[in-house]
């Protein structure tokens, strides 16, 4: 960007630059003392998120060592059978839900904004809310084991074992509610990251110039939107059965435990790729740096990321090969499971080709990267084996599968993460980790891992089932298990070395030099020691590796010669750009530090925790308090009316400070959230049709059963009217008629309340008893889902009404009404589908 340096610019004045830097520092300053915990900036929240996820990893690792200790010798009594069940369940649960997925969000929150030259993600408070939710939920789930109350049904919680309250105690509720709460936080993070990737790129960074990491984040966050909601839907059914005896998984009353398996694995298999792809994304940044050349086959990586993202949704039944589904059904999933090896392999070859074409600099991150590729390829090959149904029938639920999944997850996720840890540590913490300790850590882990899990393939083929707490002597398992245990402790020693390397005091060591690996992407612009402002100025990007390919880039950046070099008004700001071409469209004011998000998260968590103990009054109290706290947060921190219309963002560009509708990030967030919401709803509808397929005539029952057609039809008409009123409200607002706006908002709310009531009245009036059979239970759950959505819509509508009265919603400043109307479009679709399924489908099949 020499152009900026040729033209005389105000940035030529060093005094001005100093003043700008002082202002920026003040605006973005990290609070000190207790107020430190009110921070919402990505660098703090991302750091807490990462540290917490790594802590849960260590916790779950100790559980893993307890498993290996118990299994070291036959007939061991180190752990009792029941406690062993809790230990292995919590090991899997914590590794997957509290480490593997959250660490993706954590790392992305730290590095993505600066990789995109943004000061922060568009919704920093949402990230903070997600973090506090994750912390509370994680501590709750993990803490249960200290009270002998941990979940003990395996990390995928199969009913009927887990719906039987005599066999499983409160642990199952802890699992369901604790994790549902965390899943909500994951979806929040996904929304944040999608909007961040699409709308917060620096000017000029067209979609073909986006760092590969951002491509992966986009794909993975999109996958979360379609993978997590089915599990939330499953959790709802599951908890309704445990708490209120609604028989979704009880075959005696028409239910079917297989539905849980479907919903769990529709989530669970994509989840494997949700943890794998972001880790591979780290390699996609590390490999070019250490090959000292641009990645070879950028488009092929995009193919691999997007292709894997899609194909991974066609694999879920390969976890259910032994459930007795027809061979033809199994074969579809087998075929897709083989097909997914194609894009997965493409990535590996791209990395190898890049390394071959470059001059490789050997270093600790590269060591972990190469170890990762080796282990992952091995796990991938056994994956191709178990994807073949006949082989899987032999290996299912044996230690062969345990070995396979650890090879894929440790090779595909843990080792790349360690590579990322060594690579990004100087970026986040200003100092390098030790090369020597890193090498020790790597070799201990690499050898220990293989010694642990390679023999398990044979243990499994010899017939040792997973999840047994002990085994008899002389079955051919003894030596193999002892070897695995020795390997596990070796692996743990490596983890300890790295943990020490991370935690040891480094105050006396010099700061790492800036861009210590000589990388080419924007995050390495960060100074050492780092500044709170994130980026000095939002750069103009015209290449894929600006630090390598744009002349004078770092100097221009340091001298603030790009956009937003200043914070004149004392506000936190970043640029919003267009999706494909990254044309600047808005200067976004992002909200600052607050304790409100922590409060909202703890109140929401309180509601989930109280529900675990069936404390209904407390649950309702917490829910109301959480709702109020979220409303206060929104009222004070969102759609803030700026003091002026436009702002000069530098380089002669003026941008609006307030935009609404599809131009605004809030609208995108609503849209993306509702996509996730629709996939949860689709999962419930899937449940309805699933029950229809397995019943000859009882689902839906013969004529005369509820909810009938009349009340659903009334509900549909009222909801249509409510939706229409919302449309008129927005129109009235645009025409500067606040009276009309308020009239139609009120009308919409009243009609929606009536619509929701009519929908619930149908099953009630026709006497559907949800505990009697799965049909009434399913009708009720879908009706309640839709009614609750109307209820949420009413709250939003009334919120708009209050904003209008408080002069925060006007014809010019109309973010709220646009976003709420968008919500209503989705609510309308939900209602239409509900009525079609509950009222019309029974007519069609009779």
């Amino acid at each position: 960007m020499t152009e900026a340096t040729r033209v005389p610019s105000p940035q030529d004045d060093p005094e001005l630059r100093k003043a700008q830097e002082a202002r920026l520092e003040k605006v973005w300053e990290t609070p000190s003392g207790l107020r430190y915990w009110s921070a919402v900036n990505n660098s703090e929240v991302g750091l807490w998120y990462t540290a917490t996820a790594l802590f849960f990893f260590l916790f779950a690792g100790v559980l893993g060592l307890m498993i290996r200790t118990q299994l070291a010798v036959p007939g061991n009594d180190f752990l009792s059978a029941t406690f062993y069940n809790q230990v292995f369940t919590l090991h899997g649960t914590a590794m997957m839900f509290l480490f593997a997925v959250p660490i993706f969000e954590a790392v992305a929150i730290i590095i993505l904004p600066e990789m995109l030259g943004a000061r922060d993600l568009p919704f920093p408070r949402l990230s903070a809310f997600g973090y506090w939710s994750f912390l509370l939920g994680g501590v709750f789930v993990c803490g249960s084991i200290f009270f002998n109350a941990a979940p003990d049904g395996g990390w995928f919680m199969y009913p009927p074992l887990t719906t039987d309250e005599k066999q499983t105690g409160i642990g199952a509720d802890v699992w369901l509610l604790g994790l549902s709460f965390i899943e909500v936080a994951s979806i929040a993070a996904a929304v944040e990251l999608i909007v961040g990737t699409l709308k917060c790129r620096p000017p000029g960074m067209r979609i073909n110039l986006m760092p590969l990491y951002a491509w992966y984040v986009l794909v993975v966050a999109g996958m979360i939107l379609f993978a997590f909601p089915p599990l939330i839907a499953g959790d709802i059914l599951f908890e309704l059965e445990r708490m209120f005896d609604w028989p979704f998984f009880d075959p005696k009353r028409g239910g079917d435990p297989l539905l849980w398996q479907h919903l769990f694995w529709i989530f669970g298999h994509p989840e494997v790729y949700i943890v794998f792809l972001p880790a591979i994304a780290l390699l996609a940044m590390i490999v070019p740096t250490f090959a000292q050349r641009p990645i070879l086959g950028y488009s092929w990586i995009v193919l691999a990321a997007v292709g894997t993202g899609f194909l991974s949704f066609g694999l879920w039944v390969h976890h259910m090969f032994t459930t007795g589904l027809p061979a033809i059904s199994l074969a579809f999933f087998s075929a897709a499971s083989e097909a997914v090896a194609i894009p997965t392999g493409v990535q590996i070859f791209v990395f190898l080709a890049t390394l071959l074409a470059g001059r490789v600099v050997y270093s600790v991150p590269m060591l972990f990267a190469i170890g990762a590729l080796g282990i992952f390829v091995f796990g991938g090959l056994t994956g191709v084996m178990v994807a073949l149904a006949p082989f899987d029938w032999q290996a299912h639920d044996t230690y062969f599968v345990v070995a396979h999944l650890h090879y894929t997850l440790v090779g595909g996720m843990f080792f790349p993460l360690m590579a990322g840890l060594y690579y990004f540590y100087p970026f986040a913490m200003d100092r390098k980790l030790s090369d020597k300790l890193g090498k020790w850590g790597f070799w201990l882990m690499f050898v220990g891992f293989n010694v642990t899990f390679l023999p398990m393939h044979i243990t499994g083929l010899r017939g040792m089932p997973r999840r047994v707490f002990t085994y008899a002597e002389g079955l051919g398992f003894d030596t193999l298990n002892m070897v695995s245990t020795v390997g596990a402790f070796t692996f743990a020693a490596g983890v300890l070395v790295v943990t020490w390397d991370v935690l040891r005091p480094k105050g006396k060591e010099p700061y790492a030099k800036r861009n210590p690996w000589n990388a080419g992407t924007l995050e390495w612009l960060s100074e050492s020691p780092g500044k709170d402002w994130g980026v000095r100025t939002v750069p103009v990007v015209t290449t894929r590796y600006p630090l390598w390919q744009q002349p004078n880039f770092v100097r221009d950046y340091d001298e603030g010669r790009f956009y937003l070099p200043d914070a004149e008004e004392g506000k936190r700001e970043t640029l919003i750009t267009s999706v494909l071409d990254a044309r600047p469209i808005q200067c976004l004011r992002v909200p600052g530090n607050t304790f409100m998000t922590m409060g909202a998260a703890f109140l929401t968590g309180g509601a989930f925790i109280a529900a675990t103990f069936y404390q209904w009054t407390l649950t309702i109290g917490f829910s109301i308090a959480a709702l109020i706290s979220i409303l206060i947060w929104l009222w004070r921190g969102t759609a803030v009316i700026p003091e002026k219309k436009e702002k000069d963002v530098g380089l002669g560009l003026k941008l609006p400070l307030y935009v609404s509708g599809p131009d605004s990030v809030g609208w995108w967030a609503m849209f993306i959230t509702m996509i996730g919401d629709m996939s949860a709803f689709a999962s419930l509808i899937f449940g309805y049709f699933f029950y229809w397929t397995i019943h000859a005539s009882a689902f839906p029952p013969a004529a005369g059963a509820g909810p009938g057609q009349f009340w659903p039809a009334v509900a549909l008409v009222l909801t249509l009217a409510s939706w229409g009123a919302m449309l008129l409200a927005r129109r009235a607002n645009a025409a500067e008629r606040p009276g009309g706006l308020r009239f139609w908002l009120t009308g919409s709310a009243v009609l929606a309340v009536a619509g929701g009531a009519a929908l619930l009245w149908g099953p009630h009036a026709t006497g559907l008893d949800p505990t009697s059979h799965v049909y009434p239970a399913t009708v009720w759950v879908i009706a309640i889902w839709t009614a609750v959505h109307l209820g949420v819509g009413v709250v939003m509508t009334l919120y708009c009404l209050a904003r209008s009265i408080g002069a925060k919603l006007t014809a010019e400043h109309d973010i709220d009404v646009h976003n709420v109307l968008l919500y209503w479009h989705f609510a309308m679709v939900t209602m239409a589908v509900t009525v079609a399924v509950l009222a019309l489908f029974p007519l069609a099949v009779r």
């Binding site: 995009v302 292709g307 899609f310 097909a339 990007v541």
Partner: protein
């Protein structure tokens, strides 16, 4: 958005979306066919396994439609890719680079989806009943 002279993120994912829909049609038609035929627990009576002819016909039609749609998408993407002055690896900050990059990535995804559709349809060629 799907049919467009300008490549975008929707044109990019058209082919894998078609793959996903085709996958669902295959799975749902076969499993509904078999579930409905097996609800009388034929498996315990020793009678013949019910066949899946209905589902196979549906899958054949869906497969042809999906392959045709993917071919159409790749033809459109070919247009995006071929029409421009940018050079691989399309890493300049121009409209042509962006357009040709998206076109090329779309063609790759079309290829993967095409193979994927054939993979997923093959079971219906070899398996004729609900065993």
């Amino acid at each position: 958005m799907i049919a467009s002279t300008r490549a975008n993120l929707i044109t990019l994912i058209t082919a894998p979306t078609i793959w996903a829909i085709h996958f669902l049609v295959c799975y749902l038609s076969a499993s509904v066919n078999c579930a409905k035929a097996l609800t009388d627990a034929r498996v315990f009576t020793g009678a013949d396994w019910p066949d899946v002819t209905g589902a196979r016909i549906a899958i054949a039609i869906a497969t042809l439609a999906a392959l045709a749609a993917i071919a159409w998408s790749s033809r459109q993407a070919w247009g995006h890719w071929a029409d421009g002055d940018a050079e691989p690896p399309y890493d300049d900050a121009t409209f042509d680079d962006r357009q040709q990059f998206l076109g090329f990535a779309t063609i790759l995804l079309c290829g993967l989806s095409f193979i994927g559709v054939i993979f997923v349809a093959l079971p219906a060629v070899f398996i004729g009943d609900c065993r």
